[in-house]
């Protein structure tokens, strides 16, 4: 699918440690290939159709392609902005002028060019057991990404805006993005990530990011995924929480043909806290796969996740939520709740929450349901004069709104609510 010649043109090539790591990853990819459904983590997501598509290794014109200015705006998000077009950082579309002191941000490509040494520890590592075909490709081929560091004690007020745009290129394009984010001790930052694109770009975007949230630091991460309907998105987000760190994640999955997001949370720090909310609403032949793997290692760690799924048409929604409590993680309190609505006879939902508990001073709960709207509630709305279709939409919307609990600022929340409303199953207005 990719060739070594492409690797030669990657930023940072020539650095011995990076070349070695990339070549090791490429070899490992050649050996492991893409994950198949015998891999438990890929049980419900088939890559057969994906594997048959061809992708260009890059979009040569990515640095100059025009982008609808409206795409770069998000209500309530007026802080610094980083824009990637077809996987390439675009300084011309970004606005980094208003950075607060203590915020260091730039593209991976320029960091590799100008000051690669600090990245050596993160990018020079060996292939790991939990690397799959996608993360290996990313290791081998990542050409750009975000390098963000929030200095200790820095409280960033305005949310940082991260935009991934896919626009029509000469051929369907693959891009591999690797981002590295560190929120320093006692620092606090909110990041709003927005994926969007032209209706017809069948790109393949493969994003891996490593996020470290240091002691007493806070990260708010809101991800709004509206990629084009023919796009394939593979994302893996590693989040490590140190002592007393908190992370608040919101994810709205609306676009893409095949969209998978692996959120792997390592709660190594004592008293760290991870909260996630997410929802997908799927139509047509969309396939979404949300995998939330939370590992409690430190003492008195708390994780809580609430995910909602709606599948209509011939769509398929997959949810895997695992809470793993390691020995010694006493006082861990983990919960994962997932509810799904199946709206069409041709849609499918596969959900599997999992608890793996190796410590006894713990509370761990999970729950999952698949079903339809409650008949009694529907009748209640109708008895008040609300027509059936409208009543259904009201309830589906309310069902998904839980995923937006806590989204800030208010203007962004309202925007997300409106997006949800648009995405609801076709019905008379």
């Amino acid at each position: 699918m990719q060739d070594a010649a492409a690797a030669a043109r990657l930023p940072g090539s020539g650095l011995a440690w990076l070349d070695a790591a990339r070549s090791e990853a490429l070899q490992a990819f050649a050996a492991r290939g893409l994950p198949d459904q015998r891999n438990e983590l890929w049980r419900y997501t088939s890559l057969r159709a994906f594997a048959q598509r061809g992708y260009a290794a890059q979009d040569p014109a990515a640095a100059t392609r025009g982008v609808d200015a409206a795409w770069l705006q998000l209500p309530g998000v007026e802080g610094p902005r980083l824009v990637f077009v077809n996987g390439v950082f675009r300084a011309d579309l970004s606005s980094l002028a208003a950075l607060s002191p203590g915020v260091a941000v730039g593209s991976l490509a320029s960091a590799l060019r100008d000051d690669p040494e600090p990245l050596r520890f993160l990018l020079g590592g060996h292939v790991a057991d939990d690397d799959d075909g996608f993360t290996l490709l990313n290791r081998a081929l990542a050409a750009d990404g975000v390098v963000l560091k929030i200095a200790a004690g820095t409280v960033v007020e305005a949310p940082l805006h991260l935009v991934h745009v896919g626009v029509a290129a000469d051929a369907a394009t693959a891009w591999h993005v690797r981002s590295l984010i560190e929120v320093g001790t006692g620092a606090s930052v909110d990041i709003v990530e927005h994926h969007l694109g032209d209706a017809a770009t069948g790109h393949f975007s493969n994003i891996v990011r490593d996020i470290s949230v240091r002691e007493h630091a806070h990260l708010g991460w809101t991800s709004v995924q509206q990629a084009s309907i023919d796009a394939t998105l593979m994302r893996r987000t590693h989040i490590r929480l140190h002592d007393d760190a908190t992370v608040d994640l919101h994810a709205l999955e609306l676009g893409g043909k095949l969209a998978r997001h692996e959120v792997r949370v390592e709660m190594t720090g004592a008293r760290s806290r991870f909260v996630s909310h997410g929802a997908f609403i799927l139509h047509g032949r969309q396939h979404a796969d949300a995998e939330i793997l939370v590992t409690h290692r430190g003492r008195d760690t708390v994780s809580s996740s609430v995910w909602r799924g709606v599948a209509d048409g011939r769509a398929r929604g997959v949810v895997h939520g695992r809470i793993l409590v390691q020995p010694g993680a006493d006082g861990a309190d983990g919960s994962f709740y997932n509810k799904n609505l199946l709206l069409s006879p041709d849609a499918e939902i596969d959900t599997r929450p999992a608890l793996e508990i190796y410590a006894d001073e713990v509370k761990a709960n999970h729950g999952a349901t698949v079903g339809q709207l409650d008949e009694h509630v529907l009748f209640y709305l109708r008895s008040r004069g609300i027509p059936l279709e409208q009543a259904r939409r009201i309830l589906v919307r309310a069902f998904c709104l839980v995923a937006l609990d806590g989204v800030q600022p208010q203007a962004l929340r309202e925007y997300c609510e409106a997006l949800l409303a648009q995405q609801l199953p076709e019905a008379s207005a």
Partner: protein, 479 residues
């Protein structure tokens, strides 16, 4: 409240009460497995040609398979050539009166006095000693009403048409590695046939005992409930304490025709190995029932306290419209036991229902997993499932895991799963102790309450037994 590890360890080194060995002269095939062994087993049992062929077919299929490796189960590669596939007491009894007194004594020690039970109204017992059924009580009484309750070997010879029709129809020969092995070499087991419209007048039960060393036990049980019939069946299992591991790879098939109801209960107390994880039975069992007819019902209830490794998922295929499947389970693990158990409910017919209640208690260095699949097929309109899994951890070195899978292809389904894992609530323990109950009794009390819903599903006389077994298993589980 602090647990005291040394005392816990001391107490947990507890007592396996069924660990004696019985000295009985046996006819044992040499260890190893090949087509000749399969033929020899079949010949020793005077089986018809088709049965031998069926076994060989399974054997050849098995040769193409590999021993599976399961996540979360640490099972060493089993040397299947080191096992003897047939061991039977030499003195073949013709009637209960002729059963070797040593064997009767063995069952007495287990609390299954075959003579006395025979006289008890309401229970018929089939006793399987190593590979062979040694005694079946109450047969005549049952035969009068048309119930066939006998050993599988007997059924193959005397009711070939029934066996041939149903064997492998729920668990095909090549279903999985151990089921294929069982199909090739199964030694004995129970056969039950309940004719149309009959409510079986007594509880049927089988006691399985592995005695001989270096043998595997591969029994095969087949229960057929014809239209409008009702049957309740219970199996109990024990084995002596031996340092090497014994393999138990059984297959159980249940067929419920229109409006029939089968209740299958298991109290499994195979030797779990010692406190260092030495010895113990590998209990790798395929149990599956099919609600073949409309309005039929299958209930699995299990109390699993024994075995070094347990791997079993009593399942129900809900093919008939309005059929229902239930699974109630208590699994207790301690020492180095590993239990990976759960169920599969496959909804195919309309208006099918399933219910799953699983209670896990892990102590010592053990690992217990619930693994379940609820599958709603595309045409299974109005399927309903409710699953509840709760686990209790006792001690810091054990693990408890819950892996439910839900695959839903019909929008009229309502499928719900909930699970919790925690240790025994300190406030409950304290409450009991403040009322003067010892900590150990309090644990037993609380765990008993925790398991109540499952025990409630057992036939009355066995619920008492299960409760006792639980107490023994938990002895000193907390310091």
């Amino acid at each position: 409240m602090a647990t005291q590890p040394e005392e816990v360890q001391a107490a947990l080194s507890g007592s396996y009460k069924a660990g004696f060995v019985t000295n009985v002269e046996t006819d044992t095939l040499p260890p190893g497995l090949n087509e000749d062994i399969v033929r020899a087993i079949s010949a020793r049992k005077h089986e018809p040609e088709w049965m031998t062929e069926w076994r060989l077919q399974a054997y050849r299929h098995w040769l193409t398979m590999k021993q599976p490796h399961w996540a979360h189960v640490n099972l060493p590669e089993i040397d299947l050539q080191a096992i003897s596939y047939y061991s039977a007491p030499k003195k073949k009894p013709k009637s209960l009166a002729e059963v070797d007194p040593e064997i009767l004594a063995a069952y007495d020690k287990l609390g299954v006095p075959l003579h006395e039970r025979n006289k008890l109204a309401g229970v018929a017992v089939d006793a399987v000693f190593d590979s062979v059924s040694v005694a079946t009580t109450a047969q005549e009484q049952l035969a009068k009403v048309g119930v066939i309750f006998c050993s599988m070997s007997h059924a193959i010879v005397h009711h070939p048409e029934l066996v041939r029709k149903y064997i492998g129809s729920v668990v095909p020969q090549g279903d999985n590695y151990f089921a294929a092995l069982n199909s090739a070499v199964f030694s004995d087991g129970s056969f039950v046939f309940i004719p149309k419209g009959l409510r079986c007048p007594m509880e049927l039960s089988t006691y399985f005992r592995i005695n001989a060393g270096h043998t595997g036990q591969f029994e095969r049980t087949l229960i057929i409930a014809e239209e409008d019939s009702v049957v309740s069946y219970l199996e109990g299992c024990t084995a002596p304490m031996r340092d090497d591991n014994q393999l138990h790879a059984a297959v159980v098939e249940l067929v419920a025709l229109d409006r029939a109801s089968i209740k299958y209960s298991t109290v499994q107390n195979w030797y779990p190995g010692d406190e260092n994880g030495k010895g113990g039975v590998y209990n790798l069992v395929t149990k599956r029932g099919e609600c073949r007819g409309p309005d039929s019902r299958i209930t699995w209830t299990q109390v699993e306290t024994g075995s070094a490794v347990t791997w079993k998922y009593p399942s129900v295929i809900l093919r008939g419209d309005r059929s229902s499947g239930e699974f109630y389970s208590v699994a207790v693990t301690k020492h180095y036991q590993q239990a990976d158990t759960g169920t599969k409910m496959t909804h195919i017919g309309r208006d099918t229902r399933s219910k799953i209640v699983s209670k896990g208690i892990s102590a010592g260095n053990s690992q217990a997993s619930y693994r379940g699949l609820v599958k709603v097929e595309k045409n299974a309109i109005n399927a309903r499932n409710h699953t509840r899994c709760d686990s209790i951890l006792i001690g810091k070195k054990c693990g408890s895991h819950t892996f439910p899978y839900m695959e839903i292809k019909n929008p009229t389904a309502i499928v719900e799963h909930e699970a919790t894992t925690s240790k025994i609530a300190d406030d409950q323990l304290f409450y009991c102790r403040s009322r003067g109950i010892s900590e150990e009794d309090a644990v037993s009390l609380i765990v008993n309450g925790f398991c109540k819903e499952v025990f409630g599903e057992l036939p009355m006389e066995f619920a008492v037994e299960a409760r006792k077994l639980l107490e023994v298993s938990l002895e000193g589980a907390i310091g």
